[in-house]
């Protein structure tokens, strides 16, 4: 048969791929025997979902808090998708490679301001950096559109994070290079390994359009494409996935209250989880709400960019309004800026405390928080 050579070639390639697949499957330990279960209280501030995750089990000598067979291999090995460990930055005026409409993760720590374009992060998913003398990991899971920034100091030791090549609930699983423990990016908790059950400290950050970010913070530095890796930066390998309405992979908890790819801002307070549509916050500019005993203020003055604050100052719960382009509290008529500082009025000089939250697609939030409320 004249077709035998191409077909034999393809069969050869398939055989190699099957062997690769078998190898990756074999590296995921199956939950064959649970050696023991420890009820470990890891952190008092954990949510109910997280508390249920704090039941540490040991299977075949591996500590874990989620079923091991739920942690799926994506295929490539650890660090197959390489993190950026020696990031290079330029000033905003030198950042010609970033377009105004590009989204960036913006970070301000101890007076230092940095921006991390998502078109770079999509190829690396993790940047290990130091901002304002604080070691941080800036992370991005394109599949779930979850952005998270974590402190990298665990048990007083600075570590680096890398991609494990695995997924939990279709979300990036990171590993730390000190102990090889695996961490769920969406919840910031170690799910297998020595540090199982420990929670990473989250850092408030922004997702913003580059044009807005550099206008707000002209002194910002921005991550460059000199990452030490050659990639087709600027081309998004996920194509129209972000806007395509269909979910082509199975998720554990489905909930049709919102479109699966609606971008939400997820908050947790103890046992309560609540999601806000980004579009709602953008439309209203200012939202005063309460989650359990936490009084929240959500502010969005620029597209894609939302900040959350605790709206209690000196034991007074403030109500905010957006009037004539100004954020005003109704109790004292003081004017507040985007940094959460009172810049005019009776409360001048007072500052609201920033709150962290989880931005991402609805399907991912509800997969991890099936009991979530929706604003």
């Amino acid at each position: 048969m004249n077709y035998q050579y191409p077909i034999l070639g393809v069969i050869g390639v398939v055989t190699v791929l099957v062997i690769m697949y078998a190898a990756t499957v074999m590296t995921v330990p199956h939950q064959t025997a649970i050696d023991s279960i420890e009820n470990t209280s890891v952190e008092s501030s954990m949510t109910s979902q997280e508390q249920s995750l704090s039941q540490i089990q040991i299977t075949n000598g591996i500590k874990h808090i989620v079923p091991l067979d739920k942690i799926k291999s994506g295929g490539p090995p650890k660090d197959g998708i390489p993190s950026i460990d020696k990031p290079n930055f330029v000033t905003a005026s030198d950042a010609n490679f970033v377009s105004d409409n590009d989204l960036v993760i913006g970070l301000i720590i101890n007076g230092e301001t940095k921006a991390y374009p998502l078109f770079i992060l999509v190829w690396h998913e993790i940047v290990n950096d130091i901002v304002g003398d604080v070691p941080v990991a800036v992370t991005y899971c394109p599949l779930c559109f979850t952005n998270q920034v974590f402190e990298r100091t665990i048990n007083e030791q600075v570590t680096e994070f890398g991609t494990s090549g695995k997924l939990y609930n279709s979300n990036l699983v990171m590993y730390d290079r000190n102990t090889n423990s695996q961490w769920s990016q969406a919840i910031g908790i170690a799910i297998t390994g020595e540090l199982t059950g420990q929670k990473l400290k989250r850092v408030p950050f922004d997702v913003a359009k580059w044009s807005d970010w550099k206008t707000l913070y002209p002194e910002t530095l921005v991550l460059t494409t000199k990452t030490g890796h050659i990639r087709a930066y600027g081309s998004d390998p996920y194509g129209d996935y972000y806007t395509d309405p269909q979910i082509i992979f199975p998720v554990e908890n489905k909930d049709d209250r919102l479109h699966p790819k609606e971008i939400i801002l997820g908050f947790d307070n103890g046992n309560i989880h609540k999601a806000y549509k980004l579009a709602d916050v953008e439309e209203k500019k200012v939202i005063n709400d309460k989650i359990g005993d936490k009084n929240l203020l959500l502010v969005s003055l620029y597209p894609e960019m939302t900040r959350a604050f605790n709206r209690v100052v000196d034991d007074i719960i403030l109500e905010f309004q957006y009037i004539d382009g100004k954020i005003i509290d109704t109790q004292t008529n003081s004017q507040w800026n985007l940094e959460g500082e009172a810049i005019e009025g009776q409360l001048i000089g007072k500052k609201l405390e920033r709150e962290v939250f989880n931005p991402g697609f609805w399907f991912e939030w509800i997969a991890f928080h099936p009991d979530s409320l929706v604003y």
């Binding site: 004249n2 077709y3 994506g74 599949l143 695995k166 997924l167 081309s235 992979f249």
Partner: protein, 159 residues
């Protein structure tokens, strides 16, 4: 083997091989979910490739049964195999969203080291139209074979 049966068999094998690659490169999903996702994303490419390759096989076997020795056969086979590989490779790019850190994201990350960033950017950005172009080439070769076969049959009749 009859030409039609041979064509169907080769077409089916092409589809099976394609889906086999999908299953092998999508370990995060159960095989049935991976196949279902591939069919949702690339049904036209998958069916098109199976049909195109099967048609080519049929025409080739049919020509042989008449004792025709098509001059363009070798080039056609080479071109068709190349187009099939090109089409399937590019159509696999749309499988990237089946998992973060998946094989196809990994493969795309390696492209710039092989082709340079410019060509890689084009291949990634236009993977879908390019894979359809590959499909057109497959059917183009099949059409060319059919045309040549017809011409040679006419020639045989005249002789």
């Amino acid at each position: 083997m009859k030409p039609l049966l041979k064509g169907i068999l080769v077409g089916v094998i092409t589809v099976i091989v394609y889906l086999g690659v999908v299953v092998a490169t999508t370990p995060a999903l159960a095989p049935i979910d991976a196949i279902s996702a591939a069919l949702q994303l690339n049904s036209i490419i998958i069916v098109g490739m199976g049909t195109g390759i099967g048609l080519q096989m049929y025409l080739s076997s049919y020509a042989k049964s008449f004792g025709c020795r098509l001059k363009i056969k070798r080039k056609t086979f080479g071109g068709n195999s190349g187009s099939t590989a090109f089409t399937s490779f590019l159509s696999f790019f749309s499988l990237v969203p089946l998992g973060c850190c998946g094989w196809w994201l990994y493969a795309l990350s390696l492209l710039p080291s092989i082709f340079g960033t410019g060509i890689s950017a084009v291949l990634i950005e236009y993977s879908q139209p390019l894979s359809y172009l590959g499909l057109v080439v497959i059917f183009g070769f099949a059409g060319l074979t059919a045309y040549k076969l017809r011409q040679e049959k006419r020639l045989l009749k005249i002789q």
